[in-house]
């Protein structure tokens, strides 16, 4: 099985940014396993984590993300705690529910 890898983006924080990024993934047929996003600093920027497969698409994903005007930086992170994506409900204070496939 292909392992997952994390892409960290620093992006401008305005209403259309998330659409630009998710639109890029759907338009180019890239797979996206998870997203985390929150504003940073004074709120003019956001940090976004995209969970993607570490496969032959990764290079194009990085390059195409880098072309988006509102994306200020793209960094690939190999070492990270993937359980954060599984434990989101804990952080939200909600009881963990396993949704059947």
């Amino acid at each position: 099985m292909t392992r997952n890898i994390l892409i960290e983006l620093i992006v401008q924080n305005h209403a259309g940014v998330m659409s630009h990024i998710t639109g890029l993934f759907s338009r180019r047929g890239f797979n996206l396993e998870g997203i985390l996003c929150a504003k940073i600093g004074d709120g003019s920027r956001s940090r976004m984590y995209l969970l993607v497969k570490d496969d032959e698409q990764l290079e194009q994903i990085e390059k195409q993300l880098g072309k988006l005007y509102d994306v200020l930086s793209v960094k690939v992170i190999e070492k990270f705690d993937e359980t954060i994506f599984d434990r989101l409900q804990e952080y939200a204070g909600v009881e963990t529910v396993i949704v059947p496939d």
Partner: protein, 552 residues
């Protein structure tokens, strides 16, 4: 002094060097048109927003400069989308400014409200939804900077009506935007590339629209000549090489000559410069230049490895890259390779073309012989487009305006109008088909308004010819929806718009009529009946490798 958002837009467009905008007014951009009334900008009223978008493209494609179009909200914006998507695929710097319903109405399904921002996102280089008049001071110059820097492309700016009307005090204006200089090419990679070129036995230079965007045509030709590298071109690269240049092998790909595709198949080094390995150029990618190492030079970093693995990537302005390479490559004659290609050319002769003037190849060549080399050729999309690409004697960059990436029927007439408007010293000739022309025929009215030096040559076969051809060759002759049940009297239609019209049908001396029509300095329409059985040859069957093309 106080300015409205609309006045800010017209003021900044003027500062950006724009003198003309193309568009159609409507409810949500009326404040903008009111500002136009008082500005120095000239407005050209199109008859459909798609026409306005392609007219702006005609300016940009023929001059290399950014051009502007306007549309209102809702249907105005949706009508514009095809022209914007077309600009995206061919990397044309068009700025589209659309009116939007007032901010308070956004999201309420108001009259003529549509999510223009959302719709234009995947078909623009970037897009903006402006939220205040003050934002325009940043957004307008930024839109130009984005459109013209790096790989060019269209930018859409959606401006709600209340933002156009909002008045703000302005004490100083932003500087007009300039192009951001491209990244300097990596010298080590240039050295490696130069060494590979020097060592190669059978190199081929594969050039495309990127060479034209970078104004690097002379340098590309110089490299081919200096180091004896035979060159092939994509549709978008037409005009970089003179059609009769001894090193030029013509267009590659789906409708390229068989020897051209054969030479590519045999090459040991592919210099892919300003190209994106489009499927119409490569055929089956796995079998495209199977024995070649690839040096890929492009302004867009994301093009490297997108379709084909690259051995050396040269990222930067092609002009800089070619200049640096020319200092390093050696002068050689590669006579074995040149002889080998000459032999291929002899062995793979195209099917002979009949003498009949009404063979489209002969019409196109006759026009090529009658007009001078500055003439700008616009085409629509289909068989006539490929015949022009194959037969017309191009010899200068920016003399072919054609919808390469999106393949938009209806492109030709409005693009030709834009080009004729921007190049009053040149003749513009539109080659079109009866299917394509009907898709934006309303712009004959705009042409009549402007009285431009534009000759329209309609290769009229009563069919969607390229569809008919594919049904004949690849769908067992099951013709469906490719023949028009009726064929309108196009000469009468053009005359109805007030345009001088001719019909070559049954004319005693068609060549002298063609010559007379082309010598007109005003709009002129010529109907040329052609038989529907003419096919574009050679053709690579769907899914096949380029060397598997069929000829007749």
């Amino acid at each position: 002094m106080k300015y409205s958002g609309a006045e800010i837009i017209t003021h900044l467009l003027e500062g950006q060097g724009i003198d003309t905008v193309f568009g159609i007014p409507g409810g949500a951009n009326l404040p903008l048109y009111n500002a136009l009334y008082k500005s120095k900008l000239r407005h050209i009223l199109a008859r459909h927003e798609q026409g306005a978008g392609f007219m702006a493209q005609g300016i940009s494609r023929s001059t290399g400069k950014p051009a502007v179009c306007f549309a209102t909200s809702g249907p105005g914006a949706t009508n514009l989308l095809t022209a914007i998507a077309d600009a995206k695929l061919d990397s044309i710097p068009v700025i589209a400014i659309t009116g939007q319903v007032s901010s308070a109405l956004i999201g309420t399904d108001a009259f003529q409200e549509i999510d223009t921002y959302g719709l234009s996102m995947p078909i623009t280089k970037h897009n903006f939804l402006v939220r205040s008049a003050a934002e325009l001071l940043e957004v307008i110059p930024e839109a130009f900077r984005i459109a013209i820097s790096g790989r060019p492309g269209p930018v859409l700016i959606d401006v709600p009506k209340d933002v156009q009307q909002e008045c703000i005090e302005i004490s100083s204006w932003p500087e007009p935007a300039n192009e951001i200089p491209a990244i300097a090419p990596d010298l080590q990679n240039i050295k490696v590339a130069a060494e590979m070129i020097s060592q190669a036995k059978r190199p081929i230079l594969y050039i495309g629209g990127g060479i034209i965007h970078a104004d690097a045509s002379e340098l590309a030709v110089k490299l081919a000549h200096y180091s004896s590298i035979p060159a092939v071109s994509t549709l978008m690269g037409s005009g970089v090489f003179k059609h009769d240049d001894p090193f030029y092998l013509g267009m590659l790909g789906m409708h390229g000559a068989r020897y051209t595709n054969k030479a590519l198949h045999e090459c040991d080094l592919l210099l892919a410069f300003g190209v994106r390995f489009d499927d119409r150029a490569t055929g089956k990618v796995a079998r495209f230049c199977p024995d070649a190492k690839i040096i890929h030079a492009d302004i867009d970093n994301a093009e490297f490895g997108k379709i084909k693995k690259t051995d050396v990537a040269l990222h930067g302005d092609i002009k800089d890259i070619l200049t640096l390479l020319l200092d390093l490559v050696n002068n050689q004659n590669r006579s074995d390779w040149i002889d080998q290609i000459a032999l291929m050319k002899k062995q793979l002769q195209p099917a002979p073309i009949s003498d009949d003037l009404f063979n489209p190849a002969n019409i196109i060549r006759s026009v090529g012989a009658l007009v001078n080399s500055d003439t700008i050729i616009s085409t629509d999309v289909g068989q006539h487009q490929m015949w022009v690409a194959q037969m017309y004697p191009f010899s200068k960059p920016r003399t072919l305006l054609t919808s390469g990436g999106l393949g938009t029927m209806g492109f030709g007439l409005p693009a030709a109008i834009g080009a004729a408007y921007a190049n009053p010293d040149k003749k513009v000739v539109l080659f079109t088909g009866d299917g394509s022309l009907l898709m934006n025929i309303q712009e004959l009215a705009t042409l009549a308004d402007l009285n431009l030096n534009l000759t329209i040559i309609l290769l009229n076969n009563g069919h969607l010819g390229l569809v008919r051809q594919q049904q004949e060759l690849f769908y067992s002759g099951n013709y469906i929806a490719s023949r028009f049940a009726t064929n309108p009297d196009f000469k009468a239609i053009a005359e109805g718009f007030g345009i001088t019209s001719y019909d070559l049908n049954n004319h005693q001396s068609p060549i002298s009529l063609l010559s007379r029509a082309l010598s007109e300095q005003k709009p002129c329409f010529i109907n040329v009946p052609i038989h529907h059985s003419h096919n574009v040859m050679p053709i690579v069957p769907p899914g096949a490798a380029n060397i598997e093309s069929i000829e007749g």
